[in-house]
Amino acid sequence: MLDVQFYGVLEQVAGTRSLQVELVDDAVTVDQVLERLRGQVPALSEHLPRVACAQGDALVRRADPVDPTRPLVLLPPVSGGAMGTQEGS
């Protein structure tokens, strides 16, 4: 089982901070985990194209294999600093 964690709006959409996703084998890519997740939580579907993933302190690519020993973290579009692109800081 892989721990999948949600941040920002994804936590609200998923209704939870984290979920367990079953891994059929260890040679699974990020993309494959997201595909399985889409089945478990259909509401996430529309968000997934703009989601980035991380393990530990680094981003991972969609085609990268997942490290099954660490949580896969789902990061929606970011809004640090302050306002949106046309405004604020």
């Binding site: 991380a54 530990g56 981003l59 991972v60 690519r61 809004s79 600093g81």
Partner: protein, 155 residues
């Protein structure tokens, strides 16, 4: 040093942390909570972060900014948790020999932070509703962010 913090941000202490006698100029940028957003009244907001990555992104962005603009000092802190109107959400401090470099470096740091830092903002509106602002996809998102290279270290 903690770059992601729940404590109020303090310009004076950031300037103290970056004191450097070889510098003739400093620029501090601050982002503050406005009382309006897209025509709606804002009462406050909450920032959340994926902290393990956020700390690393800020540390690397400081180093990249120093190198790219040849500035002696660059320090960035971002607050998380609930913030009221007028409170400071982010501070960027740059010190350099020449003033033009300090302005350019400060602007680069905040522009780039907004593309890379895993932080999310949830607005609390004056009508009682709340909502996450849409933002900028990170670089490895399915739909390309600012670039689609892997990792965030060397961009």
């Amino acid at each position: 040093m903690q770059r992601i913090t729940r404590e109020p941000l303090d310009v004076a202490s950031l300037l103290g942390d970056t004191e450097n006698d070889t510098c003739g100029a400093f620029v501090v940028f601050g982002g503050t909570v406005r009382n309006h957003h897209q025509g709606r009244g804002v009462a406050g907001m909450r920032y959340s972060a994926y902290e393990p990555m956020a700390e690393r992104v800020l540390e690397e962005l400081e180093e990249e900014t120093r190198r790219r603009f040849g500035v002696a000092e660059c320090r960035i802190v971002h607050r998380i948790g609930e913030l009221g109107i007028g409170e400071t959400s982010v501070l960027v401090a740059v010190r350099s020999a020449h003033r033009g470099d300090a302005f350019s470096a400060g602007q680069y740091a905040i522009d780039t932070l907004k593309e890379r830092l895993p932080v999310w903002k949830e607005d609390f509106y004056t009508d009682g509703s709340r909502g996450y602002q849409d933002g900028t996809p990170l670089a490895t998102a399915g739909v390309a962010g600012p670039d689609d290279g892997g990792g965030h270290g060397d961009r």
